[in-house]
């Protein structure tokens, strides 16, 4: 069954890639096209409307309000003693809402977690690292470009467009990597369905233990100790790093880094604009604080969504029943679906960003 599946994926993959590239081409040229020629809008590519469309619209409206409030609180900073708290609060909310709307971070991180059978806890760590990195990149770009190099807005936009392309290329790479590991490697390594079911079973319980606060490296070692025999079979019952192959070579960690980097390397244009604005008002420190507050907000949203996704998958497995062959099928759909999703998202975004040629 799995060999058939991998054949199928090999046949379908080129088609999917072609489709995604053409969607990207017919769609937006995010990196090169922006109404005033500066400040490329944040976008997460193909949009999802439907039942949640109204909610997202509401989020966009709120976000516009927070952005205006953010601007105002920066201007008020010297006049009022409460302004700093206000600025931090508004920035935080802006981050929360920003992560719900645009920003491909949540899509990449949640899919990555689903596909790699990661725990909620690992997801929270990744979400935190990605959000922090996103803030740091924005700060580094503004410090280097505006303070050191006295670059213009056009030059800064080109620079961030490059980060954007890099980010989308990484998303594509992570997607391809995940798909490869799910389809090809899995096909080679699986001994029997029984073994696999066993694994699924354990995975389903992983989250019951997710709340225990043991350090990550301990975890890691634990995984090692129990997984080196029999590939997927494990009798420990509380594997937090459920894909043992990835532990033999530390792929799990490098893939987590790749996913973090893919999300974190692209600074949000809102953060860049606010930082430059703060700089122009001689309020750079306040601007930096505001960006960190935004990152915290983004982190909260993404980790909440990641928790929701992983929990939903586990609930799904409970319904299906861990010992039935159906659990295997559901897992395959979720994992291969998630991997394809990341790959398509990456290709679509990359196609869109490269549509009008490379930035100068």
């Amino acid at each position: 069954m799995r060999n058939q599946l991998s054949k199928l994926v090999f046949r379908v993959a080129p088609l999917l890639i072609a489709t995604a590239v053409s969607v990207g081409r017919s769609g937006a040229a995010w990196a090169v096209s922006t109404p005033f020629g500066i400040a490329t809008p944040d976008s997460s590519g193909p949009a999802f409307t439907g039942p949640l469309g109204g909610l997202f619209a509401w989020v966009a409206l709120r976000q516009a309000e927070f952005y205006k409030a953010l601007e105002g609180s920066l201007l008020d900073l010297r006049g009022s003693s409460h302004a700093f708290a206000l600025l931090a609060g508004v920035s935080f909310l802006y981050g929360v809402f920003h992560a719900v709307g645009p920003g491909h971070g949540k899509a990449v991180i949640t899919s990555y977690l689903l596909v790699s059978r990661q725990t909620v806890r690992r997801g929270i760590v990744i979400a935190f690292a990605a959000a922090l990195m996103q803030g740091l990149v924005a700060i580094a770009v503004v410090l280097l470009a505006a303070v050191v190099l006295h670059a213009t807005a056009v030059q800064m936009t080109h620079a961030t467009d490059w980060f954007e392309i890099l980010s989308y290329a990484l998303v594509t790479g992570v997607g391809a990597w995940l798909l490869w590991s799910k389809v090809v490697r899995r096909g080679h390594h699986h001994a029997s369905d029984a073994q696999h079911r066993n694994h699924i079973d354990h995975h389903g319980h992983a989250h019951d233990h997710g709340d225990h606060a043991h350090p990550r490296d301990h975890d890691h070692g634990h995984g090692h100790a129990h997984h080196h025999h029999g590939d997927k079979q494990c009798d420990c019952g509380h594997s937090h790093v459920p894909d043992p192959r990835m532990l033999k070579k530390p792929l799990s960690v490098s893939r987590a880094w790749a996913a973090t980097l893919a999300v974190g390397i692209r600074p949000c244009s809102g953060a860049i604009i606010i930082l430059v604005f703060a700089l122009s008002q001689n309020l750079l420190i306040a601007g930096i604080a505001s960006v960190f507050a935004m990152s915290l907000g983004t982190f909260i949203t993404v980790s909440a969504l990641a928790t929701l996704a992983v929990t939903a998958k586990d609930v799904a497995l409970r319904f299906v029943g861990f010992e039935s062959g159906n659990a295997e099928r559901v897992m395959q759909v979720v994992e291969i679906g998630g991997a394809v999703l990341v790959l398509l998202l990456g290709l679509t975004l990359l196609g869109g960003a490269l549509q009008g040629g490379l930035p100068a």
Binding site: G27, F36, P41, A57, F277
Partner: protein, 238 residues
């Protein structure tokens, strides 16, 4: 460190009576898990423009062009002029701002300047701006530019000017003195109609359209008009 052993048997025993139902419910929940990463994508304004419009008539009373005066919000203004004060005198001269003004109008061209002009029911083609410049005042940057009509046209009854970004990256407001008429024939008067309150669902559909797709599907086009700032100029003739 406390770790409990998995308790799976009790969980699966009573919840669902048969495998098919379980599979169906489980499958649905799994789909929901996949929808979380998918749920996405709204552009949202990073640019707030306080706009004014002027309709320019020639001596024969024909409409020849539209003058836009767009003042940007302080953050976008600060970002836009970053690094442009080449001589570091703390002022932004017309020369220093000229390259940015050119970038602005060139880029806006791809968005048809967010401007639609209809005269007596006919959509009027517009040319690339013949005049454009930026000015810095207080902490605001203002873009001035003039869009000429391809052919000057007399307004028999009604000219309608719509200004909006259907994808909501640029938020336009017309607050003070939204519209003026320059050399208009007697009997013409202009009126400003603010956008209707945004219907969240329609906005979601609009925002789902990629930012540089300018031809809206017909079904959405009518809805999008609700977002527009509309300036009507009615002439009774003389």
């Amino acid at each position: 460190m406390v770790r409990s052993e998995p308790v799976r048997v009790s969980r699966r025993s009573t919840l669902m009576p048969n495998n098919l139902t379980r599979f169906a419910v489980g499958g649905l929940v799994a789909l929901f898990a996949l929808l979380i990463p998918l749920a996405t994508a709204l552009a949202h304004p990073h640019v707030f423009v306080d706009a004014k419009a002027e309709l320019v008539f020639d001596t024969q009373g024909r409409l020849t062009g539209i003058r836009h005066v767009w003042t940007f919000d302080p953050a976008f203004s600060a970002f836009a002029v970053q690094g442009l004060d080449k001589n570091h005198d703390g002022k932004l001269s017309a020369d220093e701002l000229a390259p940015l003004a050119k970038t602005n109008v060139t880029s806006l061209n791809r968005y048809s300047f967010f401007t639609i002009l209809t005269i007596d029911g006919k959509k009027m083609p517009l040319k690339f701006p013949d005049v454009y410049f930026l000015r810095w005042q207080g902490n605001h940057l203002t873009l001035f530019y003039q869009l000429p009509l391809k052919q000057p046209a007399a307004v028999q009854q009604k000219a309608t000017l719509e200004v909006y970004d259907p994808e909501y990256f640029v938020a336009f407001t017309f607050d003070k003195d939204p519209v003026t008429l320059f050399q208009a024939p007697p009997g013409c008067h202009a009126e400003y109609h603010p956008p209707k309150p945004i219907d969240a669902h329609i906005m979601a559909e609009l925002a789902a359209i990629p930012i540089d797709q300018h031809d809206l599907p017909p079904a959405l086009r009518d809805a999008a008009v609700g977002l527009a700032n509309i300036i009507t100029t009615e002439c009774t003739g003389s």
